[in-house]
Symmetry: C2
Subunit: 239 residues, 2 copies
């Protein structure tokens, strides 16, 4: 894997017509505040596979995803990997109150982010209950997702895991206005495996099975849910 970190800075033209605004923390701010926050931030871009930050490093910035997908993962010393989630436009990366990064993040395909220096962001947020409330809210959603994922990892079969992943990925995308007939899967099989607590082989076999059963149709860049109700039933844990 190439680890070409090239976070090249360029000033945010305007947060005004930002496509991720509305989902992001920025939604909690008025125009004046938005302009002030833009002063603190800079836009950065990462190419496919590049590492944005690494687990256990000291966190000096927060990020808000502008475009693209990131994989967030933790490694064990023997290199077993668990992908704890994928970040999409609007997601906030970084936890106030924890000095180190709790996980590593790298780009799945090209990614652009808003970067905020931790210090100045904290001072900015300190006096703005609206923003803080929004952050509590986002953290809450994140936590709920994490708990749902624990159920998946601890108590579901391979087939249920894949079905659940597809359904929740579809729902997340449509939540940010990216719904569509074909469900894009920018991440590789290995990423899916490490997200669901499986191996690549099992992921592949399960995709094949779902395709044989007429639940999905696979393409190079994603899948189509031919039988969404069936997938939803598997995801719900029925049958």
């Amino acid at each position: 894997m190439k680890i070409s970190v090239l976070g090249e800075g360029m000033h945010c033209r305007s947060c005004h017509d930002c496509t991720a605004r509305g989902f992001a923390i920025c939604a909690a701010l008025d125009k004046a505040e938005l302009r002030e926050l833009a002063q603190l931030s800079r836009h950065v871009r990462f190419e496919s596979g590049a590492t944005v930050f690494a687990q256990a490093n000291i966190a000096t910035s927060f990020f808000s995803v502008h475009a693209g997908t990131l994989r967030l993962y933790k490694l064990l010393p023997d290199s077993r990997r668990q992908i704890v989630g994928f970040a999409l436009p609007g997601d906030f990366l970084g936890l106030p109150g924890l000095p180190h990064h709790e996980f590593s993040a790298d780009a799945v395909g090209r990614v652009t982010l808003c970067q905020f220096p931790k210090e100045s962001f904290a001072t900015f947020a300190e006096k703005r209950p609206q923003l803080l409330r929004r952050m509590v809210e986002l953290a809450g959603h994140e936590l709920a997702r994490a708990q749902e994922h624990m159920v998946l990892l601890g108590r579901r079969s391979a087939e249920e895991k894949i079905a659940t992943f597809l359904i929740s990925w579809r729902d997340r995308l449509s939540g940010i206005g990216r719904g569509g007939e074909i469900l894009p899967l920018p991440m590789k099989r290995l990423d899916i495996a490490d997200h669901l607590g499986l191996t690549i082989e099992t992921v592949s076999r399960t995709f094949s099975k779902l395709e044989r059963d007429g639940v999905i149709q696979t393409f190079a860049s994603g899948v189509v849910l031919l039988d969404a109700p069936r997938a939803e039933a598997l995801s719900a844990g029925v049958s």
Copy 2:
């Protein structure tokens, strides 16, 4: 299982000498605020096994754990269960921004809680950045724990799961001043199994193995870590 819900109210004598203060959200408040918050809250008690709230019900209150242990869990329709965590004194239950409870909570042994009506707590918090920051912080810690648990569920062996559970339980207890030679385990084997994504039999066998290997010694009410370094190594994922 008996579901005897008897949350009997009684007014909080004083938050001043509360044993959970210092860990809880209350730590962010000064004396005057503390008194004001106490006005909103009431103390409630639940007997062993009682349900404090149930998944998918509308959340009308927040809680702060005062004493005892709770199990927080999600159920699948076919009654598979995943315990997403155990709550201890100082833990905050409830997520602003989500109308329903995301999981069920019931008492492991006798439990006492501070209960806050959601509405009035929200109004109280709205103007207090300190409190909001504390909540972001708590949510962040919770999220970090959840992510660590995903690694456990997705990528660790039964033996590593048990060792990791014991170590992190020990650390949580000592974090709230409950450290000691003997590590109390108020929850049952089935709870541990449903927390770690295992069956009771595997939990029992693994405890037996760790005891045979001289890593732990089991008692009715808990375990002693005879060889903590060995347990920590298993937990770290080495060996």
